[in-house]
Subunit: 281 residues, 2 copies
């Protein structure tokens, strides 16, 4: 595979992350995982807006322009022969870069920017989920940004795997539903959609954003609203959203079967249309 690292295309085997990189040593950075559809980034503006907002929260510079990063993805698609691949993805990693030891960021540092592109398998149409033991911290200053530290989500995913489930739904520390390990959650309250507000500690997901935006055009009311575990325990239909898998039905939560809502397909179609529009295809 060819990567893009700090402005250069480089073979993965040659690409070197510095052992003093704060991303490696402290989780001091951000990332974006973006769907590539017919060689273009889907919802590119949303991803780069989030990256810039996250960098602002962390007090970091993004040392390349959005245009340069977009061109980098194009060059990676070509270099990795993904032009003809209908389902691909790009992961952009931004860290505060190599620095002397210590928690406090140095006054000046050179951030690391790495982009990888890869083909994606077709996602499972539905997923099962447990409720994770660990909680998501809605009081973290990085709760809503896509920060590098994913260890708690990895722990929840391991817990899911041990229970034979695909994913885990995480509560926040006040016991409200936050999100799944790498996806936002939507519940159907009869014909209305609800999803936890950002203040409940979920990631500001790009697909979450788009579902809230396109629902109306599909004739669906969609709201942000805190969700308690008892609400989830009584719901009949729900789905996950993630930039790479789009809308994915929840087939089962905590060993209780769910079904796909009759309006979900219309929503998926509206999302698909918005995605196509965003890539100009």
């Amino acid at each position: 595979m060819t990567l893009w690292l700090n402005g250069e295309l480089v073979a993965e085997e040659q690409a070197r992350i510095d052992p003093a990189d704060r991303g490696f040593l402290l989780g001091d950075g951000l990332f974006e995982t973006m769907a590539i559809r017919n060689a273009k980034i889907a919802f590119s503006d949303l991803h780069f807006d989030r990256l810039l907002k996250g960098a602002d929260v962390l007090g970091m510079d993004v040392p390349f322009s959005i245009q340069t990063l977009t061109e980098a993805v194009s060059s990676l698609i070509a270099a990795n022969n993904l032009n003809e691949t209908s389902r691909a993805a790009a992961r952009l990693t931004l860290t505060r870069g190599p620095a002397p030891r210590g928690l406090a960021p140095a006054a000046s540092s050179t951030p690391t920017v790495m982009i990888a592109c890869f083909a994606l398998p077709v996602p499972k149409p539905s997923a099962s989920a447990i409720l994770a033991t660990g909680r998501r911290n809605e009081f973290s200053p990085t709760a809503n940004v896509k920060a590098l530290p994913y260890l708690d989500q990895i722990m929840a995913r391991r817990e899911a795997a041990e229970a034979g489930a695909d994913d885990a739904i995480m509560l926040n520390t006040q016991g409200k539903i936050a999100c799944a390990t790498a996806a936002n959650l939507f519940l159907w309250d009869s014909d209305t959609l609800i999803t936890p507000p950002l203040s409940d500690g979920c990631l500001a997901g790009t697909t979450r954003h788009m579902v809230l935006e396109v629902a109306k055009s599909a004739g669906i009311d969609a709201f942000e609203e805190s969700i308690s575990p008892s609400t989830l325990a009584n719901v009949e239909c729900a789905f996950l959203t993630n930039s790479l898998t789009g809308i994915q039905s929840l087939s089962e939560v905590a060993n209780r079967k769910l079904s796909q809502h009759p309006k979900q397909q219309a929503l998926s179609d509206a999302l698909q249309a918005a995605e196509t529009n965003s890539t100009g295809n």
Copy 2:
């Protein structure tokens, strides 16, 4: 500088962290920061016990024996000419290693182990601290282990720097005191010491452990007890503990001056004696 990376001594400029390393991409790993006194690891057993416990929590292997890791530190001390340095430190980083993309750990992977040794400056005898806005997540399965993700602590440290303070004390999500960004906290309640229990979300600090252990020999009662912000707001003496700085007085918390407790020196002496004993010097 010479590093030890996966079994080999290697010049830092030559050391390569794989761009697919899960430590770099997801914060999937652990570390230990250990004081080196006269060329030996202080409280070596405590550090390696915590590393093994942490690896067990994460479901990771430590691919080298403790003896090999101890010898690696010795060889690094020699390679970096730290034999005559009275104050040095070693940082050991353990990650789940390079892996295919995705949150779920691969069934088999080769962990990355890196050790760096460096001379330490003499620490400030006292530190000032603010109360951080962000909270520490006592509901995280990794709250008590020394996991790589330190971004929230970096955020708190940045907040401290902006306020002109050295450090930040973090509450947990239920509003109890947890710890500072890279140190545990002890308060004096007249002549008795209290420190938050692990269940309040602090790191299981090695120096915290030793202070609880040696206090009695210094004629001091020491207990684990939840601490509310109002208790902290009325305390007259407090200190931080960290493996590299030992016991460090808090000179100021949230703009209120504190003083050093008359018994603190006896405690520092007892800790020093235990440290000397642990290195066989």
